[in-house]
Symmetry: C2
Subunit: 359 residues, 2 copies
């Protein structure tokens, strides 16, 4: 997920590695440059790393690959109130072991890999053939976006005054608007991160409480589609899906899907087990034969796994100063490889740093 690999030719890769751990010559050269985004992440204090609660981690075990290697995919579920009803359904289905024995049945290049019940295509059924467990919550299109709530904290960036979120929500707004990188977004008035996952926002003017004038604050927010985002497949409007059929993005962020479908989280480990699957050749990228499906052994909440099998991850607090510095540098890389700072970044290229906690 958070690769820092660069487009070095192979010789340079090896040369760069051969130089580690940094003889004097390299150290001198590096001093000409500001800290890289990787260095900023490395220097972040322990307090800036937040552990993802075990009930927010979904652990999907696929059948071993053709060489017998295990395949584990870990999904971080998004926090309430965003996509709350779908996430509740997903927890209910995981506890009921609903996905066990089902499969990945669809793969479309530069689009998505999709899993659930591949046997839902008979007659006019628009639900999976396998009965859903009790307690599934009805969902509706209105819940694709939520009203901003006072208790909700997060970081939002707008590229200019028109798009700025209020300072209380976004302590870095002034710097960004005045002289910082361009974080504009053609898909939303502002974007940001809510406890490690990307969101976008619609803003509204309001009177600043200290009487200094008008400002903007978020009115509505919604989760956005980035590479590895997980969403809820559905039928045509007004169906909004239950969470039984899920997909992961394996290409350029399909942002037009934002507010049209529920994003429920992000694959934080093992996305490559999905992205390298052969593409389906039947309509809509569904596999033509059952033999092409990838069997799902199990899907569990990490909180239901024994301690020894429970993965643990921390993300760099997206409200921390370390994250702000990391985002700034990501938008303006300047080092022995990058000589022209981009001057900006989109929400999906500011990838939230993650660390697996090894016991």
């Amino acid at each position: 997920m958070n690769t820092t690999a660069k487009l070095l030719s192979r010789a340079a890769c090896i040369a760069a590695l051969a130089l580690a751990p940094a003889p004097l010559a390299l150290a001198q050269e590096e001093s000409e440059f500001p800290p890289t985004s990787a260095a900023i992440v490395k220097a972040a204090p322990d307090s800036a790393w937040q552990e993802i609660p075990a009930e927010d981690l979904l652990v999907m075990t696929l059948a071993p690959d053709s060489s017998g290697n295990p395949r584990r995919v870990v999904i971080q579920l998004i926090d309430a109130p965003i996509s709350e009803k779908w996430v509740a359904n997903i927890r209910t289905m995981a506890r009921a072991h609903w996905w066990d024995g089902l499969s990945i049945y669809r793969s479309v290049d530069n689009w998505v890999v999709q899993w659930g019940d591949g046997e839902e295509d008979e007659g006019d059924r628009t639900r999976p053939a396998r009965p859903l467990p009790d307690g599934i919550v009805p969902t509706a299109e209105e819940d694709y976006t939520i009203a901003w709530q006072p208790g909700l904290t997060g970081t939002l960036w707008g590229a200019d005054g028109r798009r700025a979120a209020e300072a209380a929500v976004n302590p870095r707004q002034d710097k960004m608007a005045a002289k910082g990188p361009d974080f504009s977004d053609p898909y939303a008035e502002a974007f940001g991160y809510l406890r490690g996952l990307p969101i976008a926002a619609e803003l509204q003017n309001h009177v600043v409480t200290d009487g200094t004038g008008m400002s903007n604050r978020p009115a509505k927010v919604w989760p956005v589609h980035c590479y590895a985002s997980v969403g809820v497949a559905r039928d045509l409007s007004p169906d909004a899906g239950t969470g039984a059929e899920l997909y992961a993005v394996i290409g350029h962020a399909p942002r037009a899907l934002d507010r049209n479908i529920a994003v429920v989280g992000k694959v934080i480990d093992g996305i490559e087990h999905m992205s390298i699957l052969p593409r389906g050749t039947a309509a809509f990228g569904v596999y033509e034969t059952e033999a092409e499906h990838t069997p799902i052994i199990s899907v569990r909440l990490a909180s239901e796994l024994p301690d020894t099998e429970r993965p643990r991850f921390r993300f760099l607090d997206t409200e921390s100063e370390s994250f702000a510095a990391y985002a700034d540098r990501t938008a303006n890389r300047y080092d022995p490889f990058y000589r022209v700072p981009a001057g900006g970044a989109d929400v999906c290229n500011v990838r939230v740093p993650l660390r697996e906690i090894e016991d």
Copy 2:
């Protein structure tokens, strides 16, 4: 490349197909909606489709896959003067059959797949072990961007006045700026398409010749990295690569690479033969063993292939009214699936429509 597959659950996929060729009920429902982007492309006149010259197509034949299926990758080379020196080198190397017998030796998830000479890692060599053919042109970082030239035609969109390109270059600018979709770009002042491939631009103010005031026109332009873009791997600055080592993007557009590395074209057919390759597990995503490499049988310019083996493609003229309408609709999808138009789009999500010409 230009999939229109949507995130329907499988039942809906089948249902949608079952409805084709559109009984009356569907036709009536469709009338509530504006033409889809697919319908706009379908309705484009023949005059809006431009054939890609055979000397701009690079045909890469990989070894058959493990099931014996052939793997062909077709790359559209970008037109001069953009990245002109690297493209000249690539043509020279293709004519010399330089890549034949080499391999894909690197694959990094959500980043790139890279090919060329995997044996360049000995000692301090920063060039491939295999000697390059005669006639390779020296390249330099300055050539990552080019000055806008009067003879150069293309379409550029800026999101607002500050970013607008002049009307002569962009006849759709006024509409876009006033009430059209948001085509802003955090990475550049404007973006557009030059004969089918995406570019970005830096603008400058100038006096409009009719005396009505100041306007903007492009000053510099450069090719941008999107999904499937092909670029030239290189060593650390100031090395700019020759074109011998190439990569294709297989993830979210790595736009920070723009102006830092030469983009030379785009995979227009067969990207899935690259994107599904297992990821490399050695440093920088290089494969650990030779056995993991994907052998390259041959790389040829289409113009050097016999007629019967020569692929032919047309793209939807990016300066046509059909393309403008397609881009508008792509930024504002509204149909039985998409109920909230995005209101904007980024350069990489307005995928240039392509058609293979079957003999």
